[in-house]
């Protein structure tokens, strides 16, 4: 091969690299065989306590939901797994049709008209929704109103993403403000209002009338939603939302210490040219046979460069496939059943905990699978006790993000928590 190239050594191929810095010695540990690598990784994995080792009631944006075996079985087919973005549609119909089906199912779940092929996660999908709303107003409106009960990390990411755009982001400086009061901050400068339902405290927000109020001021309504809740709850689309985003991690993806997950993004056809990300559309081949291609790519960076709607290129294709397989496997009945299991179990847990002396439940809004408990002692102390004495992973410490919720714990109950686990938690809290 060297002779064909016309050089004497591989080193000779690198003469364009300045000699001063060429061929550095890399100070890295020596190579391992597959067996040794497995031992090392198994040891590291074994050093962690996992949510499968005992009862877990931690949620706050990352959830334990059941992943049926079919998801990984088909996800791992090499033809899906080792393909790239389907730029060559004739040999990528598998990916393209699966994403077209994913888009359809996300529309069904959210009650919207069009879904893109995915974002990195719920937080970045929310940031992209803000940018779409700004673009929909042709940059003339630069204010964003955000509920304090949108996931704190999502709000942080919106601020990071938009720090160079000269936006004013308001609403969440008062950490107790409720949606109806937030609407009064929407004005003629406002591009969008962002609400989350169920919100970060697990409560189902009352979206009725919200879209009308926001639209009356010419702004868009962006709703962050938990896709599992949409198996049961009326979708944001039915309430007039303009953009519905969220994290698809619950849809057959698993926890993975927070990533990879999947950001879904759905909107109305009116905004399709403003949206970021890839889109799969139906077409036909020269023989009239149905097929699928990436479409409206004139919005995207590889065509529009600095005028693109976003810089996104690689997305979460494989995770969207997982979500599609999950939604298809559970289907109309299964998705409803998962949501109902979460709902009833969470309510059972909440009622039982409310009976414990010293603990009280907070808020009278309906909730889905998470609820807030006021604790007699700091949350960390209670969680340490639960873990050490009972092997239970407790709830999320809301005092981290909300000063008025010091000593308040956010507990999450899903279909993965049998009644015995809930009863164990209740007993442990009682004895604590």
């Amino acid at each position: 091969m060297l002779a064909a190239v016309g050089v004497r050594s591989i080193e000779a191929l690198f003469e364009d690299v300045p000699a001063r810095v060429r061929f550095p010695d890399l100070d890295l540990p020596p190579a391992l065989s597959e067996m040794e690598a497995r031992w090392e990784l198994e040891e590291l994995a074994g050093a962690n306590l996992t949510t499968a080792d005992g009862p877990c009631f931690l949620g706050a944006g990352a959830y334990r939901h059941f992943v049926p075996a079919v998801v990984d079985a088909f996800l791992r087919r090499g033809e899906f797994y080792t393909a790239y973005t389907p730029y060559q549609p004739e040999i990528s119909q598998g990916t393209l049709q699966a994403i077209f089906e994913y888009q359809t199912m996300i529309c069904a779940l959210t009650g919207m008209e069009v879904s893109n092929a995915s974002h990195y996660d719920g937080a970045t999908a929310t940031a992209e929704a803000v940018i779409s709303a700004i673009n929909a107003h042709r940059l003339r409106r630069r204010k964003v109103v955000v509920s304090p009960f949108v996931h704190p990390e999502y709000r942080a990411v919106v601020r990071t993403y938009t720090q160079g755009m000269g936006l004013t982001i308001v609403g969440d400086e008062d950490s107790e403000v409720e949606l109806p009061d937030l609407v009064s901050q929407v004005d003629a400068e406002t591009a969008c209002l962002i609400a989350q339902t169920p919100n970060f405290l697990g409560q189902i927000e009352d979206l009725a009338g919200l879209a009308d109020a926001v639209h009356a001021r010419g702004a868009l309504l962006v709703v962050v939603a938990d896709p599992i809740s949409l198996g049961l709850l009326k979708p944001p689309g039915a309430f007039g939302a303009d953009v519905v985003v969220g994290d698809g991690q619950g849809l057959g993806v698993g926890l993975n210490f927070g990533g990879p997950s999947l950001g879904f993004f759905a909107t109305r056809m009116e905004y399709v040219r403003r949206m970021a990300g890839r889109l799969v559309g139906q077409t036909a081949d020269v023989e009239g046979q149905r097929g699928f291609v990436l479409t409206l790519s004139t919005r995207e960076q590889h065509i529009r460069r600095e005028k693109a709607t976003s810089n996104i290129c690689t997305n979460e294709g494989l995770v969207a496939l997982a979500a599609a397989i999950y939604m298809a496997a559970l289907g109309r009945c299964g998705m409803r059943q998962v949501a109902e299991l979460c709902y009833h179990k969470a309510h059972y847990a909440q009622e039982r905990i409310a009976e414990i002396n010293g603990f009280s439940v907070v808020g009278d809004k309906p909730f889905f699978k998470e609820f807030v408990v006021r604790c007699p002692r700091p949350v960390k102390e209670i969680n340490d006790y639960l873990l050490e004495e009972e092997g239970i992973i407790g709830g999320y410490d809301l005092g981290r993000d909300y000063s008025h919720l010091k000593d308040h714990m956010l507990l999450c109950v899903t279909e993965m928590n049998p009644r015995e686990e809930i009863d164990l938690l209740v007993e442990a809290l009682r004895e604590e």
């Binding site: 949510t51 088909f74 119909q93 879904s115 409206l296 298809a328």
Partner: protein, 487 residues
């Protein structure tokens, strides 16, 4: 070959998953908030299995065959990586568990940060960005923050070569900055005259430059230190697009070449599956002066909780962090795969990756360059760009060559990019391909060139043997059928 949509095989009452019965007393459902209908498909498990198996059979991946998609580094991904990412001790971790319960995961992240620092020549690394473009946005925001911190808020210009990936200018715009394009010289390098003129013209307003090196022509810039030196001289910073790091492992550290910040594409260089378009992972490395702007959090050793035998790893926020760029800590599952890869390659193995990636590209170029014109004919790095057209077959285009390659069971190269090459075919063979595969691919390209002259219709109508024939992309954009709707 077509497969019905999942909605078309749906029949009422079917479900592929049986869930447990409710074991607590039911609560009252919230009035007025319950949906009436959920139009999702209803299929049995065997139907589901066949549907997705059929779909997979209509796809082409690295496991299927050669995938020389330029700039995408479609190397073979070892299967052990998958097993490791699925170890229950990694897969079942919740991101908000107490740090003392996830020390194994934090150890892995900390050491991956260290490995990437060493490979790239940087002072610090954040693993948070989810993909290459996400890393670009992160890096450009860091450069902007650096100038703001010094009170130089008038700086708003980013220089981007005309050969750059589209993500570079798009990331610049998202950061609220302006793009000034720099032309390439006759040898495919950054045109130093144009660069100097732009630096002078935008003197005082320069945030920095985004540069891919080796660039999208597959060429290592022959004056790289002069380029980075010039940008620094005008107070700018150098952003490295690490999409092409597969050429540089143990060859050169970008940090030593004058780059201040760079994103790595773990899904390219460090062998994690592309999954039909993600998930990727785009960690960012930073020099001393930019380290404090990295996105939060990064993993560090907590000296107070460490002792002589055991380190305690903890999340910390860099002091002047631009903020967080995604929820939680990055694509942890992808990080496990990349860590496994780096541990199994070791320093010598990584060096061989780049050696062979570059040798393979030069060999393939030598096989076809007399037939497919290479406009910048120099020793290339891990990829090269040629023209997919022929003077004596004027009606044949790069797209036709690409579609015809499918009939020979190869994935086509990247088409029509970089934009500065006419009818571009961008070919990146990677190090994991054998000489036999490279020869078979070269033979196919040479035969196609012959067919272009003797039977151009064969190319225009290609592919002939793919699951579908050539698809009408114009119609898709016009009709905009973006979801299935019942008739």
């Amino acid at each position: 070959m077509t497969e019905p949509l999942i909605f078309e095989i749906s029949r009422p009452g079917r479900c592929a998953v049986r869930l447990p019965e409710l074991d607590v007393p039911p609560a009252e459902l919230p009035e007025g908030l319950v949906r009436e209908d959920l139009p999702l498909p209803e299929v049995s498990e065997p139907d589901l299995a066949r549907h997705y198996t059929h779909l997979s059979q209509m796809n082409y991946g690295v496991d299927t065959g050669f995938y020389p998609l330029g700039s995408c580094t479609m190397k073979y991904n070892p299967k052990i990586n998958e097993e490791m990412a699925r170890l229950p001790g990694f897969a079942n971790l919740h991101p908000y568990q107490g740090e003392e319960t996830v020390q194994g995961a934090l150890f892995l992240m900390y050491h991956l940060q260290e490995f990437l620092k060493e490979i790239g020549g940087f002072a610090a690394v954040s693993l948070q960005p989810a993909a290459g473009a996400h890393g670009e946005l992160t890096g450009v925001l860091m450069m902007r923050a650096y100038h703001l911190e010094r009170g130089e808020d008038q700086r708003d210009v980013i220089l981007v070569p005309d050969s750059a990936h589209g993500t570079n200018p798009a990331s610049t715009t998202m950061s609220g900055l302006r793009v000034v394009e720099i032309s390439s010289d006759a040898r495919g390098n950054v045109d130093r005259g144009a660069l100097e003129a732009a630096c002078k013209e935008h003197s005082g307003r320069l945030v920095g430059m985004m540069l891919t090196n080796p660039n999208t022509l597959g060429l290592f810039d022959e004056h790289i230190e002069q380029v980075t030196g010039l940008v620094h001289e005008y107070g700018g910073l150098m952003y490295g697009d690490g999409a092409n790091m597969n050429a540089l492992l143990g060859i050169a550290r970008p940090g030593n070449l004058g780059f201040d910040v760079l994103h790595y594409n773990l899904h390219k260089t460090f062998s994690t599956p592309h999954g039909g378009g993600g998930p990727g992972s785009g960690p960012v490395g930073a020099s001393e002066r930019l380290a404090e702007f990295l996105p939060a959090p990064v993993v560090a050793v907590d000296p107070e909780r460490s002792d002589d035998e055991t380190m305690f790893y903890t999340f910390v926020n860099p002091p002047r962090s631009i903020g967080r760029v995604k929820a939680f800590y990055g694509h942890f599952g992808v990080l496990v795969r990349a860590y496994t890869y780096i541990r199994m390659m070791g320093p010598d193995g990584l060096r061989r990756v780049s050696d062979y990636a570059v040798l393979n590209a030069n060999y393939l170029m030598s096989r076809i360059k007399d037939t497919y014109r290479v406009p910048y004919e120099r020793t290339c790095m891990h990829e090269f760009v040629c023209e997919g057209c022929f003077p004596d077959a004027p009606e044949v285009h790069a797209l036709d060559v690409s579609k015809r390659l499918m009939d020979y069971h190869f994935h086509p190269p990247t088409n029509y990019f970089p934009l500065i090459v006419h009818e571009a075919l961008m070919i990146e063979p990677t190090e994991t391909e054998s000489k036999e595969t490279l020869d078979a691919f070269a033979d196919a390209l040479l035969r196609i060139a012959e067919e272009a002259r003797t039977d151009p219709a064969l190319l225009h109508q290609a592919p002939h043997h793919a699951p579908v024939r050539r698809l009408d992309e114009v119609r898709a954009a016009k009709e905009l059928i973006l979801r299935w709707e019942p008739k």
